[in-house]
């Protein structure tokens, strides 16, 4: 955080290795020289990455390469972990999110997150969705809250399945429904960015297909960053892909370009299944 380098970079410029898109969307989250340490271990090394608005950015790479760690930097979830240190700058709409004056609660209202394992609260479906709006003081009347819950569930494609079970516990839903509930819970506070950490790894193929479809729809309104181990999934849902290896951002660019014409040998080896 100490060495701010943003001034030296041209605004809106692509990260190294990136190929410019024809109709370039504005950059939502800009990272420059991001380093993350867990105690003495250097988990992420000098990552420069631009995440564009209304795009799905996929982070791929072998296990332990730092892609989840990078993802958790964007909403400062690493703050919770003992001995974790983040250096460099991450800006959202030009605002340093590691600025000590910035309220992390406000940041997380703007950057939602969906986790690997569905983690609904042991509350009713309704209360799961209403949790975020309540702590941020949105939807003070009953009818407002009802509307927020319904819209969020509709946008997560879950409304039809649960509209008669709103008072039942969220933990009683199936795995795929739980994950969509978590997505609905994240969109209920109307964030700008949604982070997804392997959201389909605990789901069966049908539930996975539903979530992927949903991600594509959500792109209209949100900026999405998704960590995935499935190359097919990255190819299917994302417009831009970043390949991480051993804590280094090896290559980033349009998804099609990365998968058809990777510039780096390591990227080629990984996507053809030679390692990882």
């Amino acid at each position: 955080m100490s060495d701010t380098q943003t001034g030296t970079q041209p605004a809106g410029g692509p990260a190294h290795g990136a190929q410019p898109l024809a109709n370039e969307l504005p950059v939502k989250v800009r990272s420059r020289d991001v380093n993350v340490y867990y105690g003495d271990a250097h988990a992420i090394k000098h990552v420069d990455l631009d995440i564009h608005q209304h795009e799905v950015t996929a982070l791929i790479g072998p296990s332990g390469c730092g892609k989840s760690t990078y993802l958790r930097c964007i909403n400062r979830m690493n703050d919770v972990i003992d001995g974790c240190r983040v250096e460099g700058t991450i800006e959202m709409d030009g605002e340093d999110i590691y600025d000590p004056k910035l309220d992390v609660v406000q940041l997380r209202a703007r950057v939602g997150m969906v986790f690997q394992k569905p983690n609904p609260f042991p509350k009713s479906v309704f209360d799961n969705i209403a949790y975020g709006p309540r702590i941020h003081g949105i939807g003070n009347t009953k009818s407002e809250m009802d509307e927020i819950v319904e819209t969020s569930l509709r946008r997560a494609g879950l409304w039809e399945e649960v509209k008669d079970r709103l008072s039942e516990p969220g933990t009683g839903l199936s795995g795929g429904q739980q994950q969509r509930l978590c997505i609905a819970r994240a969109i209920a506070v109307n964030p700008e960015v949604i982070l997804m950490d392997e959201p389909c790894s605990a789901l069966d193929p049908i539930a996975t297909a539903k979530i992927e479809e949903l991600i594509d729809e959500l792109r209209q309104n949100f900026t999405i960053v998704i960590v995935t181990h499935s190359m097919q999934q990255a190819a299917r849902v994302s417009q831009r892909t970043a390949f991480f290896h051993l804590g280094i951002l090896v290559e980033t660019g349009e998804t099609e370009a990365i998968f058809t014409n990777p510039q780096d040998q390591r990227t080629q080896d990984y996507i053809t299944g030679r390692f990882g």
Partner: protein, 460 residues
């Protein structure tokens, strides 16, 4: 022949059996144990169990029967006319003869006519030991011989050893369960005798507790009153005070340790808090009686309150301190069992730490916390030493914590301290109180364990 020597010999023989069995396993395979069904050590254990178990069983049965057989022989050798005396006298005499024969203390001079019977008794006992040793030796030799002969590459020694181990474990747990059942039955039986003397309605609903009864005709004493309501009320009052101390302190320290404290602080603070549970209750007792109670009395005096020097307040507060670790440690464990993913989910939605604790962690951990509180209550209800020293003996029916009250456990202690007639209502009342106490704590424990278990299932 001393029992110690026999036991030592058995140990040595068992070890020898193990060694022989292992060696035999090598012998039958010409030194290539790979051809065996079971590992050589199982063959060793197989022989060792054949050496030890039959002989040990015989010894146990023998030692139980030995005194009875010897006494029967003694009675058979008594001079004529003995059975004309009354039963108590017979018992006393037999006891005397036995004690004299073994060189113990006797109540008076013994009629030489009984001398012969005594000698028979002593010689029976002496012979019996040798006979037992001989029989055991035969069993050991036979068991070892048979087991060694059965060792072959195909012997399922492992299966046999594991079955034996399982049977031993079943026996051990059966003993524990039977003991519990025995205690309950004795409580029930004696309580039944008590209710034969005092009606159950008086015990459960009477408000007068004064168990002093005149034992002899010339003694000063009342007819006794056994209304246990004041005791129940006193127990309840002290338990409530204790929970007012233990629940907030224990719960807040659990929340701090599980959610806020760093790992290192938690690693030091939690064991230190658990030391509280390791302080002997008698220490808490005199802390309550000698430090806390006088402090409350003096403070009360200085502000014009009349505080008894053995107040429910002092006993309750010290008991609460004792119970803190029960609440905090268990609650801390259940809060830690709340999956990290739920915390992450709340944080990712922008919840602060306090909001996460209040709205996510506590509701998720609530059943476990309730369970820990119920366990703490059952501990408080059954606690004895603190209240014996600090709560007093007067059975006051009061809700004022500044007065002295007494509890069920205190009364059980006072009923049974000193020389007692075993069939008086006073002594039997202890059983009734004990049964009540047992019933209450059993119910609390069952509910608590059920609540905790239901919660555990949810996250596994």
């Amino acid at each position: 022949m001393g029992l110690t020597i026999i036991l030592l010999a058995m140990l040595l023989l068992t070890a020898a059996g193990y060694y022989l069995g292992t060696r035999q396993a090598f012998v039958v395979t010409d030194g290539r144990p790979a051809g065996l069904h079971s590992l050589p050590s199982y063959h060793g254990l197989y022989v060792a169990s054949w050496v030890l178990i039959p002989a040990a069983l015989l010894m146990a049965v023998w030692l139980v029967l030995e005194p009875h057989v010897a006494e029967m022989r003694l009675v058979a050798n008594l001079p004529e006319g003995f059975d004309q005396r009354n039963l108590d006298e017979q018992q006393l005499l037999i006891g005397d003869i036995e004690a004299r024969a073994l060189g113990g203390i006797v109540s008076g001079e013994l009629d030489p006519a009984f001398q012969a019977a005594g000698e028979v008794y002593a010689s029976t006992l002496a012979w019996s030991r040798w006979l037992m040793a001989l029989a055991m030796a035969l069993l050991v030799a036979g068991g070892a011989f048979l087991a060694l002969r059965r060792i072959s590459p195909d012997l399922r020694a492992r299966n046999a050893v594991e079955r034996t181990a399982m049977i031993i474990m079943i026996v051990a747990s059966t003993i524990a369960i039977l003991t519990t059942i025995g205690i309950i039955l004795s409580l029930l039986f004696e309580t039944g005798r008590f209710f034969g003397k005092v009606p159950i309605t008086e015990f459960l609903f009477g408000t007068q507790w004064s168990p002093q009864i005149a034992l002899r005709a010339d003694q000063v004493g009342s007819s006794g009153a056994f209304g246990a309501i004041p005791l129940f009320a006193g127990t309840l009052l002290i338990t409530v005070i204790a929970m007012f101390v233990a629940v907030p302190i224990g719960l807040f320290s659990a929340i701090y340790m599980s959610e806020y404290a760093s790992k290192r602080l938690r690693g030091t603070a939690k064991p230190m808090l658990e030391i509280l549970a390791g302080v002997p209750t008698v220490v808490y007792g005199f802390f309550a009686a000698l430090t806390v109670a006088p402090f409350f009395r003096d403070t009360g005096e200085s502000i014009g309150l009349d505080v008894s020097s053995e107040s429910a307040l002092a006993a309750g507060i010290v008991m609460g301190i004792m119970i803190i670790p029960f609440v905090s440690s268990l609650s801390d464990d259940v809060m830690n069992a709340v999956p990290q993913s739920l915390r992450d989910g709340a944080y990712a939605l922008g919840a602060t730490k306090a909001e996460t604790v209040r709205q996510v962690i506590l509701p998720a951990a609530l059943p476990g916390i309730v369970g820990s509180v119920l366990l703490a209550i059952s501990r408080a209800v059954g606690e004895t030493m603190i209240v014996v020293m600090a709560a007093g003996l007067a059975a006051n029916l009061t809700a004022n914590p500044l007065e002295a009250v007494t509890t069920v456990t205190v009364q059980i202690v006072t009923l049974l301290v000193g020389d007692q007639e075993f069939d008086s209502a006073k002594t039997l009342a202890a059983f009734a109180l004990g049964l009540t106490l047992f019933f209450v704590t059993l119910c609390l424990n069952v509910i608590a364990l059920n609540v905790v278990r239901r919660y555990r299932e949810k996250y596994d």
